[in-house]
Symmetry: C2
Subunit: 145 residues, 2 copies
């Protein structure tokens, strides 16, 4: 779905790459836009060694760096989409590669007020919309292009 | 369920206080143990002004302080319960007072591999177990007692 060459030693879990678009690299993480018409949904994948699955397993400095990346994306999503609420979560029960969900939520989205992870209905987002979001996110968030 | 006097200007949302036990205060947050037999589940409630609902709305310093509190609790939960996976999330679609879920998950828990928020079956935890968890968490996490 996207050309993903993000580093020599890091490879994205195939399930995270599915139905997603590469925005770019941010603070040593891969940032993806999930292709979902109903939810503005980004996934941040820190480039960490295998076996590091929970955020607190990162060392102090890296932990804070990832937290700051989460904060930057949160500002982007709320500024761009003006959602009712932002949902941020590191779950990873099924896909163990560390990844953080950031989802802009609205009262009229089909999963509201539940979580998106319990919602199975998928609709692809309009390709022009995807392009606009990815471009805006790159301009706001991605340092080295 | 617990005597909750945590400050002059801060009051816990009644829904967060339901079926929960006060562990204490940590880095300007209220830390609760959710009374649930199936999941070791803590809730961190930063003492913030009304209207601050998303983590990134905190100022830089406070944001990092809350992130560090999340990290400390993560270490406690994983050391104490030795779970398969830790789930950490700030959702708040229903209860808008900012709160962060920290849930230790195991392959044999009844919601696995789904999330706990989609799981409606509740069983109270044994009171002696609760006391042991609360005491251990206080010893490990709570500074001023």
């Amino acid at each position: 779905m996207h050309p993903l060459s993000v580093g020599m030693s890091f490879s994205l879990h195939p399930k995270l790459g599915q139905r997603s678009h590469l925005i770019g690299q941010l603070d040593g993480c891969v940032l993806l836009l999930k292709d979902h018409a109903h939810f503005p949904w980004m996934i941040l994948v820190p480039e960490v060694a295998d076996g590091i699955e929970d955020l607190h397993q990162l060392d102090d400095e890296r932990y804070l760096e990832v937290c700051q990346a989460i904060r930057k994306i949160s500002f982007f999503l709320t500024n761009f989409f003006k959602p009712e609420k932002l949902n941020v979560a590191c779950i990873g029960n099924q896909v163990r590669q560390m990844h953080i969900h950031l989802v802009a939520r609205n009262c009229d989205d089909p999963a509201w007020p539940g979580t998106v992870w319990a919602h199975s209905d998928w609709q692809p987002r309009d390709p022009q919309e995807i392009e606009a979001i990815v471009n805006a996110a790159r301009a706001a968030l991605i340092d080295a292009r």
